[in-house]
Subunit: 217 residues, 4 copies
DNA sequence: CATGAATGAGGCTTCATTCAT
DNA sequence: GATGAATGAAGCCTCATTCAT
């Protein structure tokens, strides 16, 4: 999985291709630095060093540090949303799809370790360091992702795949688990470990941890 | 619930009591500002303004901005650990205790909204903005809290209260849910709502979301 | 003549007096540097060096370089307008008053050499380097000064002290001469020289340079 | 009236002619930008954009921003000096020639609005932003122009066309008026207006604004 | 103890100039 | 000749920290 730059595989003049490549290099360097040091603490000097460009060059591609961050987040979120949608399409059982979704997220977390660190670092307090529009943009992304799961859960419920529980609670639980995975669990050593963990997660999510004679609804 | 300052209720000379009170006021002001603006973006000017002390005075009580943050986090984490321990003592069923733990966390989140924002904002990338020792201290706190749950889960498993699942998975799930609550769920309007949500959470955690014919273990 | 700082001679607490004094010192240093190097080319490093304060200190007194400039210009223009008004009060003949006005300007130019350099440097192209409001503020000052002369000239004309010429032309001529003095003529060696020059100026202004048989109106 | 480029009308090879044309285009673009934004605030990016050449190309024709400015000023001043000389040749009465000179300047101001803005913006403080040699070059031009008037005034005085006044004062007054016109008066709506104003100016200059019984010399 | 003015290192950003294509 | 990406010095501004009162 790679940073998606629209103009990637097209047959553009060399100059254009190089520009796109450099832009990508800068973004990737920034992602590493932002993840390592935190968005606010990271300096453009560090990004420039990591990108092996001079600091001034960054400004040929991004109008400011904030613009750089937005481009990274935008790129990532579109990537995530697309990936989410593909995993959850309502064509199989909710459980199967949720399993795939978790695996996808696990893969995502492995492939985009640094990106996830940035996103999660931005979750709460970090927002306030951004401009009004920046916050709104990020919130919109977040909500879009929640909605995908909520819609799918609603359908699953209608089809009788789920117990009679408040949909929000279900979605919340799923999201919490996903967040949990994204935030704390990316430190599985291998993707294989992570995938096995997903099986258990899904098991727990659907069957609970209790010895389970007490099913109610 | 209040910030616990060791020298609170003791019978100290007036000077000492005043000093302790001022220290507390500064910490509480800092918590509000850190939560509102993010730890890195917050300035000591803002803290001083909020505390209604001069900037210089802060340095009479704390040796640096980082020291101020550590004291806040230390204080909070001791508070949390104590509270955790009280909720999970192994004297009732794991489910009951977990329920109480979640309720406690919910209460915590309501009473210490700002504290939670700081902690969660510091979770990942933020750590790296701190000094080596700072990070280690925070990590130790975190691990300690994990350990409490892990120990209790192990015991519950021995007593047959839990399905045959990897203990780490169970703990991880619980922790993920707690994190999820702490991070995203403190925006329940009322504590009552939050408590009801806890019931559902516990239900899901123990019984799963599935229609449940497929119990395995 | 000195920079007018409102709180100058009042009995303020020492802290306040010192603050006002430092503010004044910074402004005066800035005036010297702005005059020497041009407003745009001057750096705050130079101002700080000249003021014998650190660069950061400047920001305790002024919110930005532009703010510093505005305060200087405001102060100066109020000074000038006041001085203008005093010189031209309509109590004697226009010629006498104009003479005094020119002398006053000459004195001003001697006492405020640097200030004048800044003002005149800002006259034209420089405006565009300022913000919208900055330009408007400066323009307002300029117009106010023009108006004072225009009003007085109108009165003088009514009293029959002037030839039948368009008032704007007269004002314009006077203003041009004043500008000329301010811009190019402050390099008289001594004030005495300047004052003598004023006599000639007034003579020319009222009687012309021609051998003068040809008076028309 | 056009920018005079020495190699303009000669029969040069196409390459040479093109080079000269590009050079001229860049200078004219620079003049517009310098006038609009001020010399210091203007960037070569803006000049390049206005000239519709790339930034690098400018350096093929001029060795630096300062060099570009000098060439512009040189060009202009030679233009002005030539024009001055033509207007003031000592073949008619001083008054007539001065009248023509003012009209010429008025025309100049209309045709070279932008050039004048640059020159006047550079008059005083701006000089110091230039290198030593730059300043001297500009000063020399200035003095040359003063000298032309001074010489002619001397001759006029000898011929009895002028009152017995210090020559410097007369020259100064004339120059001041010219400056005044150049600086503040180019905002006549039409050249016609400006020319009428010149008549009044000359009238005032020669006959004064006073009711004029008091002729002395 | 408390104050807040002063400091200066360090961050973001701009822009004249260079250079490989 | 022409281009425009790359550079890095330098400018403005912020803020944690110190210190004299």
């Amino acid at each position: 999985m790679e940073l998606t730059t629209d103009s990637m595989e097209e047959n553009l003049p060399r100059r254009e291709r190089e520009k796109a490549a450099h832009r990508k290099e800068i973004m990737e360097a920034a992602i590493r630095v932002f993840a390592r040091r935190g968005v606010h603490a990271a300096t453009l000097d560090e990004v420039a060093l990591e990108a092996e460009f001079s600091k001034g060059t960054i400004y040929l591609y991004f109008s400011s540090k904030e613009d750089l961050l937005f481009n990274i987040l935008n790129n990532l979120s579109q990537n995530m949303i697309t990936t989410f949608r593909e995993a959850i399409s309502g064509k199989r059982s909710f459980k199967e799809e949720l399993h795939d979704l978790f695996v996808t997220i696990a893969e995502f977390s492995f492939n985009y370790k640094d990106h996830m660190k940035i996103v999660t670092g931005q979750h709460v307090a970090g927002f306030n360091a951004l401009s009004k529009e920046g916050c709104e943009k990020l919130l919109k992304m977040h909500n879009e992702m929640v909605k995908i799961i909520l819609d799918r859960a609603r359908e699953a419920f209608r089809k009788g795949e789920l117990r009679d529980l408040p949909l929000e609670a279900i979605t919340s639980m799923i999201h919490g688990s996903l967040d949990g995975m994204a935030i704390s669990r990316w430190n599985f050593e291998t993707l294989e470990e992570a995938k096995q963990a997903v099986n258990v997660f899904i098991d727990i999510l659907f069957n609970g941890i209790g010895k389970g004679k007490e099913k109610k609804s």
